[in-house]
Protein backbone atom coordinates (compact mmCIF):
# COMPACT_ATOMS: atom_id res chain seq x y z
CA UNK A 1 0.00 0.00 0.00
CA UNK A 2 1.85 3.06 -1.23
CA UNK A 3 0.41 6.30 -0.05
CA UNK A 4 3.28 8.70 0.29
CA UNK A 5 2.51 11.53 -2.15
CA UNK A 6 -0.02 13.42 -0.04
CA UNK A 7 1.84 12.96 3.26
CA UNK A 8 5.08 14.21 1.72
CA UNK A 9 3.26 17.21 0.32
CA UNK A 10 1.86 17.94 3.78
CA UNK A 11 5.35 17.62 5.26
CA UNK A 12 6.76 19.99 2.67
CA UNK A 13 4.06 22.63 3.07
CA UNK A 14 4.04 22.65 6.87
CA UNK A 15 7.83 22.46 7.10
CA UNK A 16 8.25 25.06 4.37
CA UNK A 17 6.01 27.56 6.14
CA UNK A 18 7.69 27.10 9.51
CA UNK A 19 11.16 27.26 7.98
CA UNK A 20 10.38 30.33 5.89
CA UNK A 21 9.00 32.01 8.99
CA UNK A 22 12.45 31.66 10.55
CA UNK A 23 14.05 33.83 7.88
CA UNK A 24 11.34 36.10 6.55
CA UNK A 25 9.35 38.61 8.57
CA UNK A 26 5.77 38.60 7.33
CA UNK A 27 2.73 38.95 9.54
CA UNK A 28 0.58 36.25 7.92
CA UNK A 29 3.49 33.87 7.90
CA UNK A 30 4.05 34.45 11.61
CA UNK A 31 0.39 33.75 12.37
CA UNK A 32 0.26 30.64 10.21
CA UNK A 33 3.45 29.19 11.60
CA UNK A 34 2.30 29.83 15.21
CA UNK A 35 -1.01 28.19 14.39
CA UNK A 36 0.79 25.17 12.94
CA UNK A 37 2.82 24.82 16.12
CA UNK A 38 -0.37 24.90 18.19
CA UNK A 39 -1.91 22.26 15.98
CA UNK A 40 1.15 20.15 16.53
CA UNK A 41 0.44 20.14 20.26
CA UNK A 42 -3.20 19.20 19.65
CA UNK A 43 -2.37 16.36 17.26
CA UNK A 44 0.23 15.09 19.72
CA UNK A 45 -2.42 15.07 22.41
CA UNK A 46 -4.52 12.77 20.21
CA UNK A 47 -1.49 10.54 19.76
CA UNK A 48 -1.45 9.95 23.51
CA UNK A 49 -4.69 8.05 23.04
CA UNK A 50 -3.03 5.80 20.47
CA UNK A 51 -0.34 4.92 22.97
CA UNK A 52 -2.94 4.14 25.59
CA UNK A 53 -4.84 2.00 23.10
CA UNK A 54 -1.69 -0.02 22.51
CA UNK A 55 -1.22 -0.54 26.25
CA UNK A 56 -4.86 -1.53 26.64
CA UNK A 57 -4.74 -4.00 23.76
CA UNK A 58 -1.55 -5.74 24.88
CA UNK A 59 -2.56 -6.03 28.51
CA UNK A 60 -6.18 -6.92 27.82
CA UNK A 61 -4.97 -9.77 25.62
CA UNK A 62 -2.54 -10.93 28.30
CA UNK A 63 -5.24 -10.90 30.93
CA UNK A 64 -7.76 -12.62 28.71
CA UNK A 65 -5.40 -15.40 27.62
CA UNK A 66 -4.09 -15.83 31.17
CA UNK A 67 -0.51 -15.54 29.99
CA UNK A 68 2.39 -15.60 32.48
CA UNK A 69 2.09 -12.80 34.99
CA UNK A 70 -1.36 -11.95 33.61
CA UNK A 71 -2.62 -10.60 36.88
CA UNK A 72 -0.08 -7.75 36.80
CA UNK A 73 -1.65 -6.78 33.48
CA UNK A 74 -5.05 -6.91 35.13
CA UNK A 75 -3.90 -4.52 37.84
CA UNK A 76 -2.44 -2.25 35.18
CA UNK A 77 -5.77 -2.12 33.36
CA UNK A 78 -7.73 -1.32 36.52
CA UNK A 79 -5.37 1.47 37.57
CA UNK A 80 -5.23 2.88 34.05
CA UNK A 81 -8.99 3.04 33.63
CA UNK A 82 -9.68 4.17 37.19
CA UNK A 83 -7.11 6.95 37.29
CA UNK A 84 -8.06 8.24 33.84
CA UNK A 85 -11.70 8.37 34.88
CA UNK A 86 -10.76 10.25 38.04
CA UNK A 87 -8.75 12.79 36.06
CA UNK A 88 -11.36 13.34 33.37
CA UNK A 89 -14.39 13.39 35.66
CA UNK A 90 -12.92 15.29 38.60
CA UNK A 91 -10.06 17.20 36.89
CA UNK A 92 -6.38 16.79 37.60
CA UNK A 93 -6.42 19.42 40.34
CA UNK A 94 -8.84 17.43 42.50
CA UNK A 95 -7.46 16.25 45.83
CA UNK A 96 -7.97 12.53 45.07
CA UNK A 97 -6.08 12.83 41.81
CA UNK A 98 -3.29 14.77 43.50
CA UNK A 99 -3.09 12.21 46.31
CA UNK A 100 -2.27 9.40 43.89
CA UNK A 101 0.08 11.65 42.01
CA UNK A 102 2.00 12.81 45.06
CA UNK A 103 2.11 9.61 47.04
CA UNK A 104 2.44 6.98 44.33
CA UNK A 105 3.57 8.46 41.06
CA UNK A 106 6.21 10.74 42.52
CA UNK A 107 7.95 8.30 44.87
CA UNK A 108 7.91 5.65 42.13
CA UNK A 109 9.42 8.16 39.76
CA UNK A 110 12.06 9.45 42.16
CA UNK A 111 13.06 5.91 43.11
CA UNK A 112 13.50 4.71 39.54
CA UNK A 113 15.40 7.88 38.72
CA UNK A 114 17.75 7.19 41.61
CA UNK A 115 18.68 3.81 40.08
CA UNK A 116 21.09 5.97 38.13
CA UNK A 117 23.36 6.27 41.16
CA UNK A 118 23.62 2.50 41.56
CA UNK A 119 24.04 1.88 37.86
CA UNK A 120 26.74 4.53 37.60
CA UNK A 121 28.69 2.78 40.32
CA UNK A 122 28.53 -0.60 38.64
CA UNK A 123 29.18 0.88 35.19
CA UNK A 124 32.19 2.84 36.44
CA UNK A 125 33.59 -0.28 38.09
CA UNK A 126 33.19 -2.31 34.94
CA UNK A 127 34.04 0.20 32.23
CA UNK A 128 36.70 2.48 33.64
CA UNK A 129 39.68 0.22 33.13
CA UNK A 130 43.03 1.08 31.60
CA UNK A 131 42.55 -1.15 28.57
CA UNK A 132 43.36 1.43 25.90
CA UNK A 133 44.84 4.90 25.86
CA UNK A 134 41.42 6.41 25.21
CA UNK A 135 39.84 4.51 28.08
CA UNK A 136 42.63 5.72 30.33
CA UNK A 137 42.05 9.35 29.40
CA UNK A 138 38.35 8.87 30.14
CA UNK A 139 39.15 7.28 33.49
CA UNK A 140 41.64 9.92 34.64
CA UNK A 141 39.34 12.76 33.69
CA UNK A 142 36.42 11.16 35.54
CA UNK A 143 38.54 10.52 38.65
CA UNK A 144 39.82 14.09 38.83
CA UNK A 145 36.31 15.39 38.39
CA UNK A 146 34.86 13.20 41.15
CA UNK A 147 37.63 14.12 43.56
CA UNK A 148 37.23 17.80 42.79
CA UNK A 149 33.52 17.86 43.47
CA UNK A 150 33.47 16.63 47.07
CA UNK A 151 35.09 17.57 50.35
CA UNK A 152 37.30 14.51 50.40
CA UNK A 153 39.15 15.74 47.32
CA UNK A 154 40.05 18.90 49.13
CA UNK A 155 41.43 16.89 52.03
CA UNK A 156 43.71 15.02 49.64
CA UNK A 157 44.85 18.01 47.63
CA UNK A 158 43.93 21.62 48.21
CA UNK A 159 43.62 22.61 44.56
CA UNK A 160 41.51 19.64 43.52
CA UNK A 161 38.31 21.72 43.04
CA UNK A 162 40.32 24.11 40.87
CA UNK A 163 41.51 21.28 38.63
CA UNK A 164 37.99 19.90 38.31
CA UNK A 165 36.62 23.30 37.50
CA UNK A 166 39.31 23.81 34.84
CA UNK A 167 38.53 20.48 33.19
CA UNK A 168 34.86 21.32 33.16
CA UNK A 169 35.40 24.85 31.83
CA UNK A 170 38.06 24.30 29.18
CA UNK A 171 38.41 20.86 27.55
CA UNK A 172 34.86 19.78 28.31
CA UNK A 173 33.40 22.92 26.80
CA UNK A 174 35.62 22.47 23.76
CA UNK A 175 34.73 18.81 23.26
CA UNK A 176 30.99 19.31 23.69
CA UNK A 177 30.99 22.36 21.47
CA UNK A 178 32.79 20.47 18.73
CA UNK A 179 30.30 17.61 18.96
CA UNK A 180 27.38 20.06 18.94
CA UNK A 181 28.64 21.82 15.82
CA UNK A 182 29.11 18.54 13.97
CA UNK A 183 25.75 17.24 15.13
CA UNK A 184 24.06 20.47 14.04
CA UNK A 185 25.28 19.88 10.51
CA UNK A 186 24.07 16.30 10.64
CA UNK A 187 20.70 17.41 11.99
CA UNK A 188 20.32 20.01 9.25
CA UNK A 189 21.22 17.45 6.59
CA UNK A 190 18.83 14.80 7.85
CA UNK A 191 15.97 17.24 8.47
CA UNK A 192 16.43 18.63 5.00
CA UNK A 193 16.20 15.14 3.52
CA UNK A 194 13.06 14.46 5.57
CA UNK A 195 11.50 17.77 4.58
CA UNK A 196 12.05 17.15 0.88
CA UNK A 197 10.71 13.63 1.05
CA UNK A 198 14.06 12.04 0.27
CA UNK A 199 14.29 10.28 3.60
CA UNK A 200 10.94 8.65 4.21
CA UNK A 201 11.47 5.96 6.80
CA UNK A 202 8.78 7.67 8.91
CA UNK A 203 6.25 6.33 6.40
CA UNK A 204 7.86 2.94 6.38
CA UNK A 205 9.74 3.75 3.17
CA UNK A 206 13.46 3.75 2.61
CA UNK A 207 15.78 6.66 2.23
CA UNK A 208 17.18 7.80 -1.06
CA UNK A 209 13.78 7.91 -2.69
CA UNK A 210 14.01 4.34 -3.88
CA UNK A 211 14.60 0.82 -2.72
CA UNK A 212 17.89 0.38 -0.97
CA UNK A 213 19.96 -2.73 -1.00
Amino acid sequence: MKFTGVPILVTMVVGGVVLLDFFVKQSNLILLSREFMNWGVIISAFATGLGAANLLRIHAKRTQLRRTDWWYSGILLCVLVGYTALGVLKHSSSSQYQFVFNHMFQPLSATVFSFNAFFMTSAAYRAFRVRTVHATVLLVSALLMMLGRVGIGEVLYKDMPGIASWISRVPTTAGFRGITIGAALGAIGLSLRVLTGIERSQFGGTGGGGGAA
Binding site: Y125, R126, R129, L143, V150, S168, R169
Partner: protein
Protein backbone atom coordinates in the same frame (compact mmCIF):
# COMPACT_ATOMS: atom_id res chain seq x y z
CA UNK B 1 39.71 -17.86 40.24
CA UNK B 2 42.68 -16.01 41.69
CA UNK B 3 42.50 -12.83 43.76
CA UNK B 4 43.01 -10.55 40.76
CA UNK B 5 40.13 -12.13 38.92
CA UNK B 6 37.93 -11.78 41.97
CA UNK B 7 38.79 -8.08 42.05
CA UNK B 8 37.68 -7.80 38.45
CA UNK B 9 34.42 -9.66 38.88
CA UNK B 10 32.77 -8.38 42.02
CA UNK B 11 29.00 -8.78 41.82
CA UNK B 12 27.19 -5.52 41.14
CA UNK B 13 24.96 -6.07 44.15
CA UNK B 14 27.98 -5.83 46.43
CA UNK B 15 28.53 -2.33 45.13
CA UNK B 16 24.86 -1.46 45.53
CA UNK B 17 24.87 -2.45 49.19
CA UNK B 18 28.14 -0.63 49.84
CA UNK B 19 26.72 2.44 48.14
CA UNK B 20 23.61 2.46 50.32
CA UNK B 21 25.77 2.10 53.44
CA UNK B 22 28.16 4.87 52.36
CA UNK B 23 25.26 7.22 51.75
CA UNK B 24 23.40 6.31 54.91
CA UNK B 25 26.13 6.60 57.57
CA UNK B 26 26.95 10.31 57.05
CA UNK B 27 23.24 11.16 57.07
CA UNK B 28 22.98 9.75 60.59
CA UNK B 29 26.37 10.90 61.76
CA UNK B 30 27.85 13.77 59.66
CA UNK B 31 31.61 13.57 59.28
CA UNK B 32 32.15 17.31 59.09
CA UNK B 33 34.49 17.27 56.10
CA UNK B 34 35.76 20.70 55.04
CA UNK B 35 33.88 22.57 52.34
CA UNK B 36 35.15 25.68 50.61
CA UNK B 37 32.68 28.24 49.31
CA UNK B 38 32.87 28.87 45.59
CA UNK B 39 32.61 32.28 43.93
CA UNK B 40 29.33 31.50 42.19
CA UNK B 41 27.43 30.77 45.42
CA UNK B 42 28.93 33.87 47.02
CA UNK B 43 27.70 35.95 44.07
CA UNK B 44 24.14 34.75 44.65
CA UNK B 45 24.50 35.56 48.33
CA UNK B 46 25.87 39.04 47.66
CA UNK B 47 23.12 39.80 45.15
CA UNK B 48 20.43 39.01 47.72
CA UNK B 49 22.36 40.64 50.55
CA UNK B 50 22.40 43.90 48.54
CA UNK B 51 18.58 44.03 48.20
CA UNK B 52 16.88 46.69 50.32
CA UNK B 53 14.19 45.46 52.74
CA UNK B 54 10.77 45.39 51.11
CA UNK B 55 12.06 44.59 47.60
CA UNK B 56 9.76 42.34 45.63
CA UNK B 57 11.44 39.15 44.41
CA UNK B 58 10.10 36.44 42.11
CA UNK B 59 11.13 32.98 43.25
CA UNK B 60 10.46 30.29 40.70
CA UNK B 61 10.71 26.76 42.09
CA UNK B 62 10.17 24.65 38.99
CA UNK B 63 11.70 21.32 39.91
CA UNK B 64 10.02 18.01 40.49
CA UNK B 65 10.53 15.15 42.97
CA UNK B 66 13.18 13.53 40.81
CA UNK B 67 15.58 16.31 41.62
CA UNK B 68 14.30 17.63 44.92
CA UNK B 69 17.24 16.29 46.92
CA UNK B 70 19.40 18.82 45.11
CA UNK B 71 16.93 21.60 44.49
CA UNK B 72 14.93 21.78 47.69
CA UNK B 73 17.92 22.66 49.95
CA UNK B 74 18.85 25.48 47.53
CA UNK B 75 15.31 26.75 47.47
CA UNK B 76 14.97 26.49 51.26
CA UNK B 77 18.25 28.30 51.92
CA UNK B 78 17.46 31.16 49.55
CA UNK B 79 13.93 31.54 50.95
CA UNK B 80 15.34 31.84 54.48
CA UNK B 81 17.81 34.45 53.30
CA UNK B 82 15.11 36.47 51.53
CA UNK B 83 12.82 36.36 54.57
CA UNK B 84 15.65 37.35 56.86
CA UNK B 85 16.23 40.38 54.58
CA UNK B 86 12.51 41.23 54.68
CA UNK B 87 11.94 40.86 50.94
CA UNK B 88 8.44 40.31 49.56
CA UNK B 89 8.23 37.02 47.69
CA UNK B 90 6.12 35.98 44.70
CA UNK B 91 6.50 32.26 44.02
CA UNK B 92 5.69 31.04 40.52
CA UNK B 93 5.93 27.49 39.19
CA UNK B 94 6.66 26.34 35.67
CA UNK B 95 6.40 22.63 36.39
CA UNK B 96 3.22 20.82 37.34
CA UNK B 97 4.56 19.20 40.48
CA UNK B 98 6.50 22.16 41.83
CA UNK B 99 3.75 24.21 43.45
CA UNK B 100 3.97 21.86 46.42
CA UNK B 101 7.54 23.00 47.02
CA UNK B 102 6.43 26.62 47.07
CA UNK B 103 3.86 25.66 49.68
CA UNK B 104 6.40 23.62 51.60
CA UNK B 105 8.84 26.54 51.73
CA UNK B 106 6.15 28.82 53.12
CA UNK B 107 4.95 26.26 55.65
CA UNK B 108 8.53 25.71 56.81
CA UNK B 109 9.73 29.30 57.19
CA UNK B 110 6.82 31.78 57.09
CA UNK B 111 5.82 31.32 60.76
CA UNK B 112 9.37 31.98 61.95
CA UNK B 113 9.65 35.28 60.04
CA UNK B 114 5.99 36.12 60.47
CA UNK B 115 5.26 36.24 56.73
CA UNK B 116 1.62 36.76 55.81
CA UNK B 117 0.00 35.45 52.69
CA UNK B 118 -0.96 38.14 50.21
CA UNK B 119 0.99 40.79 52.10
CA UNK B 120 4.52 39.44 52.35
CA UNK B 121 4.32 36.57 49.93
CA UNK B 122 2.10 35.08 47.22
CA UNK B 123 2.02 31.63 45.63
CA UNK B 124 0.90 31.55 42.02
CA UNK B 125 -0.66 28.50 40.34
CA UNK B 126 1.16 26.36 37.80
CA UNK B 127 0.99 27.57 34.21
CA UNK B 128 1.98 25.34 31.30
CA UNK B 129 4.19 26.65 28.53
CA UNK B 130 7.65 27.33 30.01
CA UNK B 131 9.27 30.11 27.94
CA UNK B 132 5.89 31.35 26.74
CA UNK B 133 4.80 31.81 30.37
CA UNK B 134 8.05 33.57 31.18
CA UNK B 135 7.58 35.93 28.25
CA UNK B 136 4.05 36.81 29.29
CA UNK B 137 5.19 37.26 32.88
CA UNK B 138 7.44 40.00 31.54
CA UNK B 139 4.74 41.53 29.39
CA UNK B 140 1.94 41.61 31.96
CA UNK B 141 2.19 39.67 35.17
CA UNK B 142 -1.30 40.74 36.30
CA UNK B 143 -2.89 39.36 33.14
CA UNK B 144 -0.99 36.09 33.45
CA UNK B 145 -1.95 35.49 37.05
CA UNK B 146 -5.49 36.60 37.74
CA UNK B 147 -5.86 34.28 40.72
CA UNK B 148 -3.31 32.96 43.18
CA UNK B 149 -2.84 29.26 43.96
CA UNK B 150 -5.61 29.38 46.57
CA UNK B 151 -8.07 30.98 44.17
CA UNK B 152 -7.97 34.52 45.58
CA UNK B 153 -8.14 37.24 42.93
CA UNK B 154 -4.67 38.73 42.67
CA UNK B 155 -6.17 42.19 42.24
CA UNK B 156 -7.24 41.94 45.90
CA UNK B 157 -3.78 41.03 47.21
CA UNK B 158 -1.85 43.99 48.70
CA UNK B 159 1.48 42.60 47.48
CA UNK B 160 0.26 42.37 43.89
CA UNK B 161 -1.36 45.81 44.12
CA UNK B 162 2.02 47.24 45.09
CA UNK B 163 3.64 46.31 41.80
CA UNK B 164 2.72 47.57 38.38
CA UNK B 165 4.75 45.12 36.34
CA UNK B 166 8.07 43.41 35.89
CA UNK B 167 9.94 46.71 36.30
CA UNK B 168 9.08 46.64 40.03
CA UNK B 169 10.70 43.26 40.52
CA UNK B 170 14.11 43.56 42.14
CA UNK B 171 15.30 40.05 41.36
CA UNK B 172 14.22 36.75 39.84
CA UNK B 173 15.52 33.56 41.46
CA UNK B 174 14.85 30.40 39.50
CA UNK B 175 15.32 26.83 40.70
CA UNK B 176 15.04 24.44 37.84
CA UNK B 177 16.87 21.40 36.59
CA UNK B 178 16.11 22.34 32.99
CA UNK B 179 16.40 25.34 30.73
CA UNK B 180 14.07 27.84 32.38
CA UNK B 181 16.92 29.81 33.92
CA UNK B 182 18.19 30.48 30.41
CA UNK B 183 14.63 31.42 29.39
CA UNK B 184 14.39 33.88 32.28
CA UNK B 185 17.69 35.42 31.19
CA UNK B 186 16.54 35.71 27.59
CA UNK B 187 12.91 36.72 28.08
CA UNK B 188 13.13 38.89 31.20
CA UNK B 189 16.78 39.59 32.06
CA UNK B 190 17.85 40.90 28.69
CA UNK B 191 14.51 42.50 27.78
CA UNK B 192 13.66 44.34 31.02
CA UNK B 193 17.10 44.46 32.67
CA UNK B 194 15.77 42.57 35.68
CA UNK B 195 18.59 40.85 37.57
CA UNK B 196 18.38 37.06 37.31
CA UNK B 197 19.97 34.41 39.46
CA UNK B 198 19.17 30.88 40.48
CA UNK B 199 20.16 27.33 41.12
CA UNK B 200 20.42 24.24 38.93
CA UNK B 201 21.17 20.56 39.33
CA UNK B 202 24.78 19.46 39.13
CA UNK B 203 24.23 18.15 35.62
CA UNK B 204 23.23 21.58 34.31
CA UNK B 205 26.18 23.53 35.69
CA UNK B 206 28.22 23.41 32.45
CA UNK B 207 25.23 24.67 30.43
CA UNK B 208 24.84 27.66 32.74
CA UNK B 209 28.50 28.65 33.09
CA UNK B 210 28.65 30.85 29.96
CA UNK B 211 25.73 32.94 31.31
CA UNK B 212 27.32 33.19 34.74
CA UNK B 213 30.64 34.28 33.29
CA UNK B 214 28.98 36.90 31.10
CA UNK B 215 27.15 38.26 34.15
CA UNK B 216 23.69 37.59 32.69
CA UNK B 217 23.15 35.25 35.61
CA UNK B 218 24.22 36.73 38.96
CA UNK B 219 26.05 33.76 40.37
CA UNK B 220 24.73 30.22 40.51
CA UNK B 221 23.96 27.50 42.99
CA UNK B 222 25.05 24.21 41.49
CA UNK B 223 23.55 21.00 42.82
CA UNK B 224 23.74 19.86 46.39
CA UNK B 225 27.16 21.42 46.78
CA UNK B 226 25.79 24.85 45.87
CA UNK B 227 23.05 24.38 48.44
CA UNK B 228 25.56 23.32 51.10
CA UNK B 229 27.71 26.36 50.36
CA UNK B 230 24.66 28.58 50.70
CA UNK B 231 23.70 26.97 53.98
CA UNK B 232 27.19 27.83 55.21
CA UNK B 233 26.88 31.40 53.91
CA UNK B 234 23.61 32.07 55.70
CA UNK B 235 24.88 30.11 58.69
CA UNK B 236 21.93 27.75 58.81
CA UNK B 237 23.12 24.17 58.33
CA UNK B 238 20.47 22.02 56.66
CA UNK B 239 20.11 18.79 54.74
CA UNK B 240 22.64 19.75 52.06
CA UNK B 241 25.63 19.93 54.42
CA UNK B 242 24.81 16.48 55.79
CA UNK B 243 24.27 15.33 52.23
CA UNK B 244 27.70 16.56 51.14
CA UNK B 245 29.42 14.17 53.54
CA UNK B 246 27.36 11.37 52.08
CA UNK B 247 28.49 12.59 48.66
CA UNK B 248 32.12 12.40 49.72
CA UNK B 249 31.85 8.82 50.88
CA UNK B 250 29.91 7.67 47.84
CA UNK B 251 32.39 9.28 45.48
CA UNK B 252 35.16 7.60 47.40
CA UNK B 253 33.37 4.29 46.96
CA UNK B 254 33.25 4.70 43.19
CA UNK B 255 36.94 5.59 43.16
CA UNK B 256 37.72 2.48 45.20
CA UNK B 257 35.60 0.42 42.80
CA UNK B 258 37.48 1.76 39.80
CA UNK B 259 40.81 1.20 41.56
CA UNK B 260 39.98 -2.41 42.44
CA UNK B 261 38.93 -3.19 38.89
CA UNK B 262 42.14 -1.75 37.55
CA UNK B 263 44.41 -3.38 40.11
CA UNK B 264 42.84 -6.67 39.14
CA UNK B 265 43.31 -5.92 35.46
CA UNK B 266 46.91 -4.69 35.63
CA UNK B 267 48.11 -7.29 38.12
CA UNK B 268 46.28 -10.08 36.31
CA UNK B 269 47.83 -8.98 33.04
CA UNK B 270 51.27 -8.94 34.70
CA UNK B 271 50.80 -12.46 36.00
CA UNK B 272 49.65 -13.79 32.68
CA UNK B 273 52.50 -12.10 30.87
CA UNK B 274 54.96 -13.48 33.41
CA UNK B 275 53.58 -16.97 33.07
CA UNK B 276 53.71 -16.86 29.30
CA UNK B 277 57.31 -15.68 29.36
CA UNK B 278 58.45 -18.66 31.24
Amino acid sequence: MNLWEIFQNIDRRVWYVLLLVSLFIPLVRPLGLPLSIGGEARDVYNTIEALPAGSVVIVSPSYSPGTDAEMWPQHAAVMQHLMRKGCKIIQVSLALESVMYAVRAIEAYAPKYNYKMGVDHVIMPYKAGLDVVIASMGRDIHALYTEDYYGTLTSQLPLMQSISGIQDIALVVDFMPGNTLVDYIKQIGSVYNTPITGGVTGVCIPTMMPYVMSGQCRGLLGGMRGAAEYELLINSPGSAIGGMDAQSLSHLLIIVAIALGNIGLVAGRGLRKGGGGK
